[in-house]
């Protein structure tokens, strides 16, 4: 494979990594541009992490700050776990993009603008009284002002492309320029453009021309005295794909069906940021997956529960507001002791809150948000690719213990992506369970019966007898029922027994999950105890701090209820326990209550993930 940069006199300067943010109008194709830069870097062998940043759900007028759509990608020659705290490079296709994202840029960072979009009109739309290029607001940054639109016109004109069509190619010019700047292989992208726009050759040609124009512009202008290169990262050998959390989660559900050897029925009502899971799963009917877009969240959960009663893996996907509506149905599933996988892609709350922004404040609801004593297991994914494993684990628990399980992800994991080493599917766990096929109780007179609440002494799970099985007809419901026979039973002792039994069943799952392991190479006094999407920022912060010689330990919970049985031991071992959460300290309160240790919350509720810098500061502060 040849590389444009190599052919050049100007040798690229090697970097360990760079964070590039593509920003433009919703219509400017920034997501596809970022995606492409990501893929080519992935294929090239860099480690990477991405974070798309959409405007809020409603469309905003073009050219305005509210209409800005961005895509941030962090590529590196070593192991990374976040899309980067602050971009080193900002590609701004218009003044609004500059205005929206400038504050994020690292001091002295590089700004590449499309100068053709800085007309009076554009500036006013963006809310600029003066041209930021002239009024000194860009002082302290390296600014490269490129007439991208005009250069795209001239590059595509020979092909007979009309200017207004050419407009749509200018993002490829930007991609070309950045590809040159970071010495990305050109051919793969050219080939990709060909396939992607195969349906319309003129568009394909136009995009290719714009892309090459960008590359050539980089080569020839003196604006940059040389390109850069980021070597491939040392990653475990294997086949990789770049995956977002929602895709990984959907695939995990498909995989769970295969591994359990059961059909999947998804009941879902669309809601940001969970809708994509419904979209993805609806593409995989050939796996026996049925997707049902219900009339509301209650019906979504209800239909999934009905499917579970009928012998399917019942799944329902939603976000916070939806879980608030499903509580009564989940409580029914707890009482009937049927499997139900409830997936909550958390977003900013309360109420409608910040639909497109991330938060992790649904934990309290997941653990406590139903009437009566309604215990259920809660599993949390910690990275985009981990959503795949988390979906399988949550399903395993649900069908083995005949219980609803809440799986927590969030907007950051849902839309963020990272390279994922594709697992050897033969190594994935067998999570199959068996249905009841015959009577499980013998009366004194020797006659036999099916008792729907006669439990497995090991798991305390009740049998799962599905309709269609001769001889096992039975009735279940939400009224308290007698242990064993499962008949309606209001008696005090039985209710007390059942309440404790349901609690014991869920608590007992702790025996069936791995111990939490602590990363503590050099015997620290401080433990950072995390859960969910804070993992990436915690990893990065800890790596940085250790390089600076700070001792700090890290443990991360995938099972947030029940906990690994060694958690108490772990937290008691440390002088200081810090718990970063994208909420006001929800898990922290649970840990304090259980172990009476003075765990300290580190909270962020700004609709954004933690930056590693924020966590480093918090840890150093605590280390004082």
């Amino acid at each position: 494979m040849t590389d444009t940069a190599e052919r050049r006199a100007k040798m690229p300067e090697p970097l360990h990594g760079v964070v590039v943010r593509f920003a433009g109008d919703s219509g400017d194709g920034m997501q596809i541009t970022g995606d492409r830069f990501t893929s080519v870097s992935a294929a090239f062998g860099n480690d990477l992490s991405t974070l798309p940043d959409f405007p809020a759900e409603i469309r905003a007028p073009t050219g305005t700050v509210n209409g800005v759509s961005s895509f941030q990608v962090h590529i590196s020659d070593h192991d990374i776990t976040t899309p980067g705290d602050a971009p080193n490079v900002l590609v701004a296709m218009n003044p609004a993009a500059l205005r929206a994202d400038l504050k994020r840029l690292t001091p002295g960072g590089l700004i590449i603008l499309n100068g053709d979009n800085f007309e009076e009109r554009d500036l006013t739309k963006a809310g600029y009284a003066f041209d930021p290029r002239e009024d000194g607001s860009l002082n302290g940054y390296k600014v490269v002002d490129v007439p991208m639109t005009r250069l795209t016109y001239s590059a595509t004109e020979p092909l007979g492309v009309k200017q207004r069509d050419a407009e749509r190619s200018k993002n490829f010019f930007a991609l070309g320029l950045i590809s040159w700047l970071y010495s990305r292989p050109v051919e793969t992208t050219m080939a990709w453009i060909g396939e992607r726009f195969a349906k319309n050759t003129l568009v394909a040609e136009s995009n290719k021309a714009a892309f090459m124009a960008g590359v050539v512009f980089g080569e020839n202008t003196e604006l940059f005295d040389h390109p850069y290169s980021i070597a491939a990262a040392k990653m475990a050998p294997g086949e990789y794909t770049n995956i977002t959390g929602n895709t990984a989660l959907a695939w995990g559900v498909v995989a769970a069906g295969q591994l359990a050897n059961l059909p999947v029925t998804l009941g879902s009502y669309p809601i940001t940021p969970a809708s994509d899971i419904l979209h993805e799963l609806s593409k995989h009917k050939n796996f026996g997956v049925r997707t049902f877009q219900a009339e509301d969240e209650i019906a979504a959960a209800g239909s999934a529960l009905g499917a579970a009663f009928a012998g399917h893996i019942g799944v329902t996907t939603t976000s916070g507001p939806g879980v608030s509506l499903k509580g009564e149905t989940i409580s029914l599933a707890i009482s009937m002791e049927l499997p139900l996988l409830v997936i909550d892609i958390q977003r900013g709350g309360p109420s409608t809150g910040l639909p497109t922004k991330t938060e992790a404040a649904d934990l309290n609801m997941a653990v406590y948000g139903r009437h009566g004593e309604s215990p259920l297991p809660v599993v949390a994914a910690y990275s985009p690719s981990h959503c795949f494993d988390a979906a399988i684990e949550a399903t395993r628990i649900a069908i083995k213990y005949r219980t609803p399980v809440i799986l927590l992800s969030d907007g950051y994991l849902a839309n963020g992506s990272e390279p994922w080493r594709i697992p050897d599917t033969s190594t994935l766990p067998d999570i199959s369970v068996s249905f009841a096929t015959e009577h499980n109780h013998t009366n004194d007179d020797g006659t036999t019966e099916y008792w729907p609440y006669k439990r497995d002494p090991e798991t305390l799970a009740r049998p799962w007898a599905i309709p269609g099985t001769p001889g096992l007809t039975h009735r279940i419901g939400g009224i308290e029922k007698s242990e064993g026979r499962g008949d309606i039973d209001y008696s005090p002792d039985n209710h007390s027994f059942m309440v404790h039994m349901r609690a014991a069943k869920v608590a007992g799952i702790a025996k069936d999950i791995p111990l939490v392991d602590v990363d503590d190479p050099d015997g620290a006094d401080i433990l950072v105890l995390g859960w969910g999407s804070t993992w990436g920022a915690i990893r990065e912060a800890i790596t940085n701090l250790r390089e600076q010689g700070t001792k700090v330990a890290h443990a991360h919970l995938v099972h947030v209820n029940p906990w690994p049985s060694n958690l108490g031991e772990v937290v008691r071992k440390y002088k200081t326990v810090l718990m970063p959460e994208l909420n006001l300290g929800q898990l922290c309160r649970m840990v304090r209550a259980e172990f009476l240790v003075d765990a300290k919350p580190v909270s962020k509720v700004a609709g954004l993930p933690f930056t590693s810098a924020e966590l480093e500061a918090a840890i150093l502060e605590a280390a004082k």
């Binding site: 062998g45 050939n286 019906a299 269609g468 039975h474």
Partner: protein, 340 residues
């Protein structure tokens, strides 16, 4: 999963060991009996039958049937049953619900199940009252009704359950009552045999909190003059001597007439199979009170695609088009690269 040999069953095979717990004299007993007596004739097996109910006196029904059953939560039975049907089109799924369960808290799930035409047989026990919670008015209670929650009389005008169902695209709509076992059995059989969502309103007497609610129509003395029996393809006639009938005017208004005045040929001929639900709707609106001529029987029964089978068909079709799911291929479907 379900065996195909249908055993010959008797009423006993359909009766569970649970003690029936309704108030003495409750209309629910008669309905239960009608269903238990009908089941053996349907050529289905108890273990391939599922009864799903919500909450209410009526919703205790599944406990008394020796089938698979779920006594779920208030108003949600149609949604839960939809999940059962989607997962298992091979099963016979019945929904048992009350006027509060189906039309108050459960209204949305009911109309959507009907719209989708999910293969459910829905029996609505309409006693025009909240029985289980001891006597508040329901969405089918008459205006001005004095109940525990309306000491000065209810200001809520009632729904007409059949009109709601027809407005929601129901493909099968019928009405029967708890005093006529034969009519109930005929109606339930037709509802069961209909492929798609069948909606049956059953006038049911709650002798404790709303006694004699339907006497003006189904009572011994009112019956002859106030019960109109709908028969597909037949002119609509009623009355002690069958002397009265129904006509449709060119102004689009149904009228009750003396057959003698207009002649047999002028009478409206019932057409339950018409795709346009307007006629069924007009018949459902024929009576506006509890003591005037009221149609019973099958108002509407038309074929349209059944939901669960459509869902299943896409699964098959997808497998045919893409081949059975291949997990390894799926995980590689977004493009991959190798690290050596």
């Amino acid at each position: 999963m379900s065996d195909t040999i249908v055993p010959l069953t008797t009423k006993k095979d359909w009766t569970s060991d649970q003690e029936v717990r309704w108030c003495p004299g409750c209309g629910d007993y008669g309905i239960l009996l009608a269903v238990q007596m009908l089941m053996p004739d349907l050529g289905v097996a108890p273990h391939n039958t599922v009864f799903v109910s919500g909450i209410g006196c009526s919703s205790r029904f599944p406990y008394y049937m020796n089938t698979y059953g779920m006594h779920s939560i208030h108003g949600r039975a149609p949604a839960i049953a939809t999940g059962v049907a989607i997962a298992r089109p091979d099963l016979d799924v019945w929904v048992i619900t009350g006027d509060g369960d189906a039309l108050s808290i459960g209204g949305n799930h009911l109309i959507h199940a009907l719209r989708r035409n999910v293969n459910l047989t829905i029996l609505l026990f309409n006693n025009r009252i909240y029985g289980l919670t001891k006597g508040q008015f329901s969405p089918t209670s008459e205006l001005g009704k004095v109940t525990k929650s309306t000491p000065m009389g209810s200001v809520d005008p009632p729904f007409n359950p059949l009109a709601v169902a027809l407005g929601a695209e129901a493909s099968f709509v019928a009405r029967t009552h708890d005093l006529d076992r034969k009519h109930m059995m005929e109606t339930f059989r037709a509802a069961h045999d209909h492929k798609g969502a069948s909606f049956v309103e059953i006038y049911q007497n709650c002798n404790v909190f709303n006694d004699a609610a339907f006497d003006g129509v189904t009572g011994k003395q009112s019956r002859p003059s106030n019960m109109i029996n709908l028969v597909h393809g037949q002119p609509i006639r009623f009355g002690p001597e069958n002397e009265r009938g129904v006509t449709m005017g060119s102004d689009g208004q149904l009228r009750l007439v003396d057959v003698a005045d207009v002649g047999e040929d002028a009478l409206l001929v019932h057409d339950a199979h018409r795709s346009d639900p307007s006629l069924a709707f007009a018949l459902a609106r024929l009576s506006h009170d509890d003591h005037s001529p009221t149609p019973f029987g099958i108002f509407r029964s038309v074929d349209r695609p059944e939901y669960a089978s459509s869902v299943a068909a896409q699964v098959v079709q997808a497998a045919e088009k893409k081949g059975p799911g291949d997990l390894d291929a799926l995980l590689r479907s977004n493009g991959t690269w190798f690290v050596a």
